[in-house]
Symmetry: C2
Subunit: 349 residues, 2 copies
């Protein structure tokens, strides 16, 4: 398996001193795809060697807009866990946990709801965008408006100092830090820890159709567990340069998904640069580019798929791994919840 | 101790068939007073013989608007527990629990937040009134807007069928039942139980100054643990009939706090009726009425005070009683939370 170079991140440079703790994760609403791989998974494989890393399967959070299909969330917890292990996340190095199995996260959310105003939640740009995106308008579930408090609970429960997020999620991190500061002021003690956003300097991977976002609901993904035939079919549909009609015409790289993917995944950078130059000056057909892309993706995904299929045979192992990770994580979260409750005068026995 | 007649309640008549479960409780923000006694405590002493009764010290909920004074809440948990036992609530018959020590209540709240919209919460008349009352305006803590979800969690966790509340709290019960129905629809199973408001037919006891509400913050209460001297002083200040200037003048009973209290507490109803008639036709001075009121209150509160002082000597016993009640209650709530989570697909191990 030829892993592409790891993306570096800007925010790492400005992260606080001392040992760092990462909280990251996914809403288990579908299998993970190349967009997840570029945006986060391959970074996690690197981070687990450098940091203490908690990876959360955010099943409770996924319910905020999947109350009509709770089975989907349940089912995808295992699917996403398989994706994690298949790409090289090591449960001995990273703690993989299931959010709903740690009641202390709900407890912290409950208390943090008193530390943020409704007006502040309504002003949160991420929440605003997501509400528009999901078409909630006036029928916003309360759990959706308040999910920044839940996110603050998840992050602070593990005393995470680094949270890998996209640019658009930075307001969530700011809101978490506001809650952390508010709580520490009430407690008159530095119990909770502020965190920093860890924003990858590589942008979001577009869908195979050229749309900005790769997403299951748009049907423009290549899943990490895709079969060889699925990869072939997807590469055929990859959006290139609509103006590049004849082989001899100069081609364009901007918005050309084939080259964006090659930039992200082709381990042979020099040959790629030559190919780009050739494409731009004319004389290189899309079929050659796509052939290269298919080769790169097939080579990259074949071992991931093989490992995924192997692991999928032993569901008992996956469940045991999830249970152990969740128990380890719960100890940490319970400790934080105890500290928070004690500071609020909620210890008695 | 001469207990006055128990108030009967309208809603009892229409309560569902079968064994009933009551959830009731108090926000521990101050010692309980005569208003609590009339409005709820003496009913609870009766209910514990007829129903399974959970009495919740709502410390988490009290924090929604006491984040600046968390010590007050902590301290008053024990004070209110003393009041409970002093008036005759029997921990062997009623389960007394501390809300914050049952994380499952926060968990249920968390899930119920997905089953109610922001618009619906904003329309809740009780929430609207309380927001105005507390002067929150735009700075409403999110936990305050969402507290109907928390209340639904408290009620449904114990599968309570009867909830003693004032008239003004009926919208909260309706909101609970909406959440219960919504959840059962999602679960496609009757897991949660709808409840009925149990509205006492005796109105709210006014403050000694004649204001509609007896409240610590208005300084117009008589606490259940009041000393004999405090009772004497309070009775002196009791509001009567401002038009009753001379003994021989006819007096008025409406709004006359002395008679309202006698109606509530004087066990000798016939003598009270004679006294009222005398007062109305003229010739009965306020001092005689107040003398009777003082006697009634002193006789009623002396044994409560004595028992309260005795119990206060043994804080270890109180804490043990609270711990045992909370543990018993937690088993019930945990069972419900398990059922709820399983129905939402959140069971794995």
């Amino acid at each position: 398996m030829s892993l592409p170079e790891q993306s570096t991140t800007e925010a790492v440079a400005v992260a606080p001193k001392g040992p760092q703790i990462i909280l990251t994760g996914d809403r288990p609403t579908g299998p993970l795809h190349l967009g997840h791989y570029v945006g986060s998974l391959r970074n996690r494989v690197q981070y687990q060697h450098e940091f203490k890393q908690f990876i959360m399967l955010a099943d409770s959070q996924a319910l905020t807009d999947n109350m009509d299909d709770t089975n989907k969330v349940h089912r995808n917890v295992v699917e996403v866990a398989l994706d994690y292990l298949a790409v090289g996340i090591d449960p001995a190095k990273s703690t993989i946990l299931i959010q709903s199995q740690i009641p202390e996260l709900a407890e912290l959310t409950f208390y943090y709801l008193n530390m943020v105003t409704v007006a502040r939640l309504e002003r949160n740009p991420t929440v605003k965008t997501e509400i528009a995106l999901r078409g909630f308008e006036r029928d916003i579930p309360a759990g959706f408006l308040t999910y920044p408090a839940s996110q603050a609970a998840d992050i602070s429960a593990f005393k995470a100092t680094l949270v890998p997020v996209g640019e658009d999620q930075i307001p969530m991190i700011e809101q978490t830090n506001e809650i952390v500061r508010r709580f520490n002021r009430i407690a008159d003690k530095e119990i909770l820890v502020e965190c920093k956003a860890l924003v990858p300097d590589i942008g979001r991977l577009p869908g195979i159709d050229g749309k900005a976002k790769m997403s299951k609901s748009l049907g423009n993904t290549i899943n990490l567990g895709a079969s060889a035939a699925e990869i072939t079919a997807a590469v055929k549909k990859v959006y290139t340069d609509p103006l590049h009609l004849r082989v001899e015409d100069p081609g364009h790289l901007e918005g050309n998904v084939a080259f964006i993917y090659l930039d992200a995944f082709d381990p042979e950078k020099d040959k790629l640069e030559e190919m780009k130059a050739h494409y731009v000056r004319g004389g290189l057909g899309d079929s050659i580019v796509k052939k290269r892309l298919e080769l790169v993706l097939q080579e990259m995904l074949a071992p991931i798929r093989a490992r995924r299929e192997e692991l999928a045979q032993d569901k008992g192992y996956i469940m045991q791994m999830l249970k152990e990770g969740t128990m380890r994580a719960r100890e940490v979260a319970a400790q934080t919840a105890d500290e928070v409750k004690a500071a609020l005068g909620l210890s008695y026995f």
